[in-house]
Structures are given as C-alpha cells and as structure tokens.
C-alpha cells in the first residue's frame, strides 16, 4: 500500500475533556489530603492505618487513583503520538502502558482494602 496519510478518527474530545476533569479531581484530592495530614499528622504505621480505615477515605483515594491512571493514559498516549511514528511500536508501548496502569490501579485497591 502506498504511504497514504490517514486521519479522521472522529474522537479526541472526550479524552481532552477527561484530562481536564481528572486534573481537577486530583487537585481537589491533593488539597484535601494535605489538609488532613496537617491536622492529624500521622507519624507511625497505626495512625496511617487509622486514616485509611475510614471507608470514605478509601473511596475518595480510589477515585484519585483512577483519575491519575486515566490522566496518565491520555498524557502518555499524547507523548507517544507526538514522538513514536511507527504504528506497530506505538501500539506495543500503548498496550504496555495500559497493562502497567491497570496493575497500579489493582495494586492501589489491594493496598487500601487488602
């Protein structure tokens, strides 16, 4: 096949929007976390454990981690689209990124609920 330039994937808006929304979610969580840590200033394992024994804290932290993964996926994919021009290599790296982000998300759940 001649090297035709193909564009017209008809997506991109949701990713762009999601990147902004997840950034806001993370910013709010970080402010909340800093405030919480300043108030309770945990200095040993058991005080950290107490903070995360609260179910709400776990859920909010999970939302943060999922936002982080989604945000990272869009950002890393953007970098790959900019710099890696061979489709097969780009797809391979993208799959690896998806697997590692999935692994990190599961790991975060395991840490909080395990």
């Amino acid at each position: 096949m001649a090297n035709r330039i193909v564009t017209g994937a008809h997506y991109g808006l949701i990713d762009w929007l999601a990147q902004r929304v997840t950034a806001v979610v993370m910013a709010i969580y970080i402010l909340l976390a800093i405030t919480l840590l300043l108030i309770s200033s945990p200095d040993d394992y058991s005080s950290w454990k107490t903070i995360f024994s609260n179910q709400w804290m776990r859920i909010v932290t999970l939302i943060f981690f999922l936002s982080l993964c989604w945000h990272a996926w869009i950002g890393v994919r953007n970098i790959l689209m900019d710099y890696i021009h061979k489709t097969s290599i780009r797809l391979t790296i993208q799959v690896l990124v998806i697997f590692s982000l999935f692994f990190y998300a599961v790991w975060a759940i395991e840490i909080m609920w395990g």
Binding site: I5, T7, G8, A9, H10, Y11, G12, L13, I14, D15, W16, L17, N78, M81, D82, Y83, H85
Partner: protein, 231 residues
C-alpha cells in the same frame, strides 16, 4: 551591523552553513528587510522571498535571532548582534532563507477555507449584524506567513497530520462566520486526535505571530464548540 545568515544551495553545498556579513546600513534602512536588500547589493547569491515589504503578503517569514517573524516589519534597531537569520524551522529548505511551503498550504486547504452556504444567492450581500461581524475580528487578519505553524513543535513532529495553528485559526474563522452553513461538517472533520488535538496549548503561535493574532484562543473556541455540541 553584523549578521550571521543560514546559507544552503543544494546544487553547490553538501551541508548548510552560517555566513557572516558586516554591512554599513543606510539611515533609511529601518527594517530587517531593508538590511537584507542592502546585503544583496554586496552578495546577490543570497536568496529570500519578499514582496509587499509592509507585512501584508506574508512572504518574508524567517527565524530572526531564534524567533519567527516577518523581516519587513521587524525594526533593525534593538536586534541583538550578530543578527542570526535562519529559514523557518520544520519545513524543507529550498535555498538559503526560502522554504518549501507545500505541507503548510496542504494543511490550510484541508480545512476548506472558504464560505460554504448552499442557500440561493440573495439579491444583495449576505448581511451580518455588527455583533456577528465582530466574531471574525482576530480570525480573518492572518496573512499565512507560516511563522506560527513552523514555531509549533506539534507541527514539527506531525506536519502531515496536525493542521497547525494557522490552519486551525482559518478553520475557526469559518466556524465563527454567521453566513457559513457547514459548522457540523467542519467540526466532524476537525474532531481527530491528530488534526486538532495535537495542540497542547503551549502558545508558541501566540508568541510568534507578527500580526498579533491568537491562534490558541481560536483553537480553544473550536474545542469549546465541540464540548457544547457533545456534552
């Protein structure tokens, strides 16, 4: 005044090189283009494009001390010496300061930069209210000099797929036009991870535009229109 100018003649030179010139300017040589024409009286092998010499035709876009601009409206006073002149980055060099603009105009044409309106032509003009006309301010003044697009890293990496700031500013110019009837088709065409969303809003285009336009703002308005029709 001292100049260091990028020279490359594919018929003679293996590789591009920088040539130094030390030129006595005339008091009337106010703009960089005047200085370049003065240099050409000494060395007529130096090649550059120029036409209107007043910032309207957009021919003499070049990289001046690291920043893209039009030589004809860049005052020589205040330029750091030696003035380093290079062709616009990111496009193939034909010779010296002349670049091949094919890719740039290909992207420009891809946004259908003309009014699309299939209504029967009216007796008189298609009228606009002053407010509708004001929407086009800052969008129609582009002279297509390519200073913005060739300053954009996203265009450097994907010149074949990313429309670039100049093309997207033109796309917005017709999206914003109350007389245009192809809004949905235009948005469909631009909704693409490469064509529009390679823009990461780093605003090199705004920094460099010799006409003081703001392509990033236009691009964000396009994204805003997409959000409006989707969400």
């Amino acid at each position: 005044m001292r100049f260091s100018i990028y020279r490359f003649d594919p018929d003679k030179d293996e590789k591009p090189y920088m040539q130094d010139y030390d030129i006595q300017l005339d008091p009337a040589d106010k703009m960089l283009l005047d200085a370049l024409i003065r240099i050409k009286t000494v060395d007529d092998s130096l090649s550059l494009r120029r036409s209107c010499r007043e910032g309207v035709c957009g021919s003499d876009g070049m990289n001046i001390n690291g920043r893209n601009g039009l030589a004809c409206i860049t005052p020589v006073a205040g330029l750091k010496e030696p003035v380093e002149l290079r062709p616009l980055p990111g496009l193939p060099v034909i010779r010296d300061l002349i670049v091949d603009m094919t890719q740039f105009f290909k992207q420009y044409r891809s946004v259908n930069p003309y009014l699309i309106n299939n209504d029967p032509p009216p007796e008189t003009e298609r009228l606009q209210s002053p407010e509708e006309r004001a929407e086009l301010d800052g969008a129609y003044e582009c002279v297509l000099c390519a200073c913005c697009t060739t300053a954009c890293p996203s265009f450097w990496w994907n010149p074949d797929k990313f429309v670039g700031p100049a093309g997207l500013l033109q796309a917005y110019r017709f999206l914003a036009d109350s007389r245009d009837h192809a809004t949905a088709e235009r948005l469909d065409d631009l909704e693409d991870p490469y064509r529009l969303f390679r823009c990461h809003s780093i605003m090199n285009c705004v920094d460099t535009c010799p006409k003081g336009l703001n392509p990033t703002k236009a691009i964000n308005k396009i994204k805003g229109m997409m959000v409006k029709r989707t969400v």
